[in-house]
């Protein structure tokens, strides 16, 4: 492979990463301040809680036109039965989306009880006409469940970070451990940044599958970085007289083929998924492939260039 000495271009490489990080954080900040999102990423039903009713219309060649506003008006006028002691939620803020050129319809409301959901469903069906029975889905997620999910995932992630850094400090040293975590944060943050922008510009929402993608990216990132570290350690023993920056460069050069091939073999199934897979996994595959690219980048461009800088101190 060609001999690209990363430490000679340290400034440019790190600036590139820094720029991507700043852009990501900007995206999340903008998303947070946006009145319609109020979170770093546009949260889907999994995290906000609520009820989502999805219908697939059965029509011959073209579906009779529907307008979102008339559907919303009819929902807002709907009177729901109370659920035991809890009063019925107001439907004035319910959102309705038409997908696939009006062929399917998604309505979002506050959390509904099963009886209330039936009333809403009936009201929608009255307006929409014939629907495909198998295409119906009603999802209700309590607001507590989303935050519970988030909390448990974050706690388990933090504990696994501590475990990983302890292991790397034991096998290498503390600087390597800090770098591995830094790269991990870099990869996860930039992936989140991409989705913050996608949420702002294209209305893409993150669901629990996105959280799974982040977990996968985190695991991949550490694995990728550790392989480079192993090679740097080997080069330090082989090339004792050279400065650390050159040792790191040698390590990157000799693992570059492997890094490219490994990323490529992991990306192949994911790219197939993006182009030929169904819509359920579309954004999941995009998040994963992007995260793996960023992960490959950080293990080549960030970890080996920051190592000499941090070790000098």
């Amino acid at each position: 492979m060609f001999a690209f000495r990363v430490n000679r271009h340290r400034r440019r490489l790190l600036l590139l990463s820094l720029g991507a990080l700043v852009l990501s954080i900007l995206g999340m900040a903008l998303s947070w301040s946006s009145p319609s999102i109020r979170a770093p990423l546009r949260p889907g039903l999994d995290f906000t809680g609520g009820t989502q009713i999805q219908l697939e219309r059965r029509c011959e060649s073209a579906c009779p036109p529907l307008t979102v506003s008339s559907l919303q008006r009819s929902l807002a006028a709907l009177k729901l039965p109370a659920d035991g002691a809890n009063p019925a939620p107001a439907l004035a803020g319910a959102s309705v989306q038409l997908l696939d050129g009006g062929r399917s319809l998604v309505a979002r409301t506050p959390s509904l009880s099963p009886d209330q959901a039936q009333v809403v469903l009936q009201a929608l069906q009255d307006q929409v006409g014939d629907t495909v029975p198998g295409g119906l889905s009603i999802d209700t997620i309590g607001p507590t469940l989303g935050s519970q999910l988030l909390q448990a995932s974050l706690v388990s992630l933090l504990v696994s970070f501590v475990g990983i850094s302890l292991y790397i400090s034991f096998r290498y040293d503390r600087i390597y451990a800090a770098l591995a975590l830094l790269c991990l944060a870099h990869d996860v943050l930039i992936t989140c940044g991409l989705f913050a922008w996608l949420g702002l510009l294209a209305g893409v929402e993150v669901n629990s599958l996105f959280a799974v993608a982040l977990l996968t990216i985190a695991g991949y990132s550490v694995n990728d970085t550790v392989v480079i570290f192993d090679r740097i350690r080997e080069k330090r023993n082989q090339l004792k007289d050279l400065p650390l920056a050159d040792q790191a460069d040698e390590a990157v050069i000799s693992t570059l083929t492997r890094s490219v091939y490994t990323s490529l073999t992991t990306l192949l199934p994911l790219i197939a998924l993006i182009f030929f897979g169904g819509s359920t996994l579309y954004w999941f595959a995009i998040a994963l492939s992007f995260g793996i690219l960023v992960g490959a980048w950080s293990s080549i461009g960030v970890a080996p260039t920051l190592l000499p800088v941090l070790s000098r101190r």
């Binding site: 697939e56 099963p114 992630l157 090679r231 693992t255």
Partner: protein
């Protein structure tokens, strides 16, 4: 060499065992069918949370299990196929209904708090009670005539409502009347409840309820049996009203579902012995409904529905099937890539990775693991790492060959040099798997399980399978050719 053959025999034996296991475990029509999570099969999932109530401020394991028992019975009564009810964490239950089953009915049955109380009528309200009961009878009869079952009688004789169903046009204008009578009936029931003393006995002391046909006549009785404490309370309760003409009210969720009188013969000690029967000349349906309500009423704590999640088969499964097909195509491309880049070693890697896939499937069947989307993500990640391990080893072998080493020596050095980076990468992944499995919930757990299994197996696959297969192949001199591993152009001139 003997050691190599030993390993080779072991790998072969394991592969045969795994293959046999997979074929005997699953019918050929639905490979892994039972082991697919709802997100892959389609279906619906309900998450329920047990709510603390009264003296109980935190829900403990025993209480959760007690609630689960009651809900299990209720679900069996619903007659849904292949449903599973599992406890999750400290206070949650998850019910899964695969296939195209309507979750609304299950949600209604399970979500009904069904707080059951036995309450004695207040003294001095006999007259008012009689008036209310007369009104209630009238309202119920009126409702039946209007063609709508009353609330306390959800399952009336079908022939009673048939005349109205046959004339839907006529039923339409009656809707307002029906609503009116329904509202009246609810108000009457609430008024009746107001005539009772506060509850002294609740459904948690009720052990079971049943029904039996009356020995004389065609009516049915509903039987009750209480635990020791409940039996004592019931005796006190019945003793206080026996022979007074005051009634014993059975109140479900603040609604009076039945009123019973206690005969004068129990004035001395009340109804003792912890069991009783309500003789009300019930029809078979009425008796069954009351029995179900009473049994459900013995739910020790109320439950709340947190989540109802439906994946319609046309939305979920079909979609995901195409995705899996796409991913498999991608894997095929990976195999082609490996063979093109690493030649003979690539072929060995593809064989080793196929074995790896087979071992993974066998492990899922043995443990057993329910396959979900996050689980597949975990498997893909571990597969990526398994490929990575092979890439690492083969790149090392190529490096050694480029430096002019012999083939056998290069293979040995390649494996031993790649070893530490492979192990380090896998151990860090394993550490996060353990943390995610121990602390995570739901999908995080599913992800951690398949990733963890995959990582352990990939160590075996890369370090044992690939190595053994390569060594066995190298025992054939015809295959011991460097250009089977590295294009000759990259090989340096031999320096003497």
């Amino acid at each position: 060499m003997a050691r190599q053959q030993g390993w080779f025999a072991l790998i072969l034996a394991l592969a045969i065992a795994a293959g046999a296991l997979l074929f005997s475990w699953n019918t050929p029509i639905t490979p892994l069918g039972q082991r697919l999570g709802l997100d892959l099969r389609g279906g619906s999932q309900l998450t329920l949370q047990v709510q603390p109530a009264g003296a109980i401020t935190t829900v403990r394991k025993e209480q959760l299990d007690a609630v689960k028992d009651v809900l299990d019975r209720r679900i069996n009564g619903l007659g849904v196929a292949e449903s599973t009810l599992q406890t999750v964490g400290d206070d949650q239950l998850v019910l899964q209904l695969p296939g195209e089953q309507d979750p609304t009915r299950a949600a209604t049955v399970l979500g009904t708090t069904a707080l059951l109380e036995f309450r004695a009528q207040k003294p001095g309200t006999e007259q008012r009670m009689q008036e209310l009961l007369t009104l209630k009878r009238q309202a119920t009869a009126l409702l039946i005539r209007l063609g709508q079952p009353s609330q306390s009688d959800p399952d009336p004789e079908p022939n009673q409502i048939e005349p109205n169903q046959a004339e839907p046009k006529q039923a339409e204008p009656k809707q307002a009347d029906r609503d009116q009578v329904q509202a009246d009936l609810q108000r009457i029931n609430a008024d009746i409840v107001a005539l009772y003393e506060p509850a002294s006995l609740s459904g948690k002391d009720l052990v079971t309820a049943g029904r039996q046909q009356q020995q004389s006549g065609s009516g049915w009785d509903v039987t009750l049996s209480f635990n020791k404490e409940g039996g004592d309370k019931f005796a006190q309760l019945t003793q206080s009203i026996a022979g007074t003409g005051r009634l014993l009210g059975i109140v479900l969720d603040g609604r009076s579902i039945s009123e019973a009188s206690v005969g004068p013969e129990f004035q001395a000690a009340g109804i003792t012995g912890g069991s009783a029967s309500i003789t009300g000349n019930f029809s078979a349906e009425e008796a069954r409904d009351l029995e179900v309500q009473l049994r459900g009423g013995s739910l020790p704590l109320p439950v709340k529905i947190l989540e109802v999640r439906t994946i319609g088969p046309s939305l979920g499964a079909e979609n995901i099937r195409t995705s899996l097909l796409a991913a498999l195509t991608g894997l095929l491309l990976v195999a082609v890539f490996m063979v093109v880049v690493y030649r003979l070693a690539g072929v060995v890697a593809v064989v080793a990775l196929s074995l790896y896939g087979l071992f993974n499937l066998a492990a899922y069947a043995l443990i057993p693991v329910t396959m979900t989307l996050p689980g597949i993500a975990g498997f893909i990640l571990s597969l990526g790492m398994a490929v990575d391990a092979n890439v690492l080893i083969f790149e090392r072998i190529k490096e050694e060959l480029r430096e002019g080493n012999t083939l056998i020596r290069s293979i040995d050095t390649g494996f031993s040099l790649a070893f530490s980076s492979i192990v380090d990468g896998q151990v860090t992944t394993l550490i996060s798997c353990i943390a995610l499995f121990a602390l995570g919930t739901g999908f995080v757990k599913g992800f951690a399980v398949t990733l963890g299994i995959g990582v352990l197996l990939s160590l075996f696959s890369a370090l044992t399978c690939t190595r053994t297969l390569l060594r066995v192949l190298m025992s054939y001199p015809a295959l011991r050719r460097i250009d089977y591993f590295l294009p000759l152009a990259q090989r340096p001139e031999r320096v003497a």
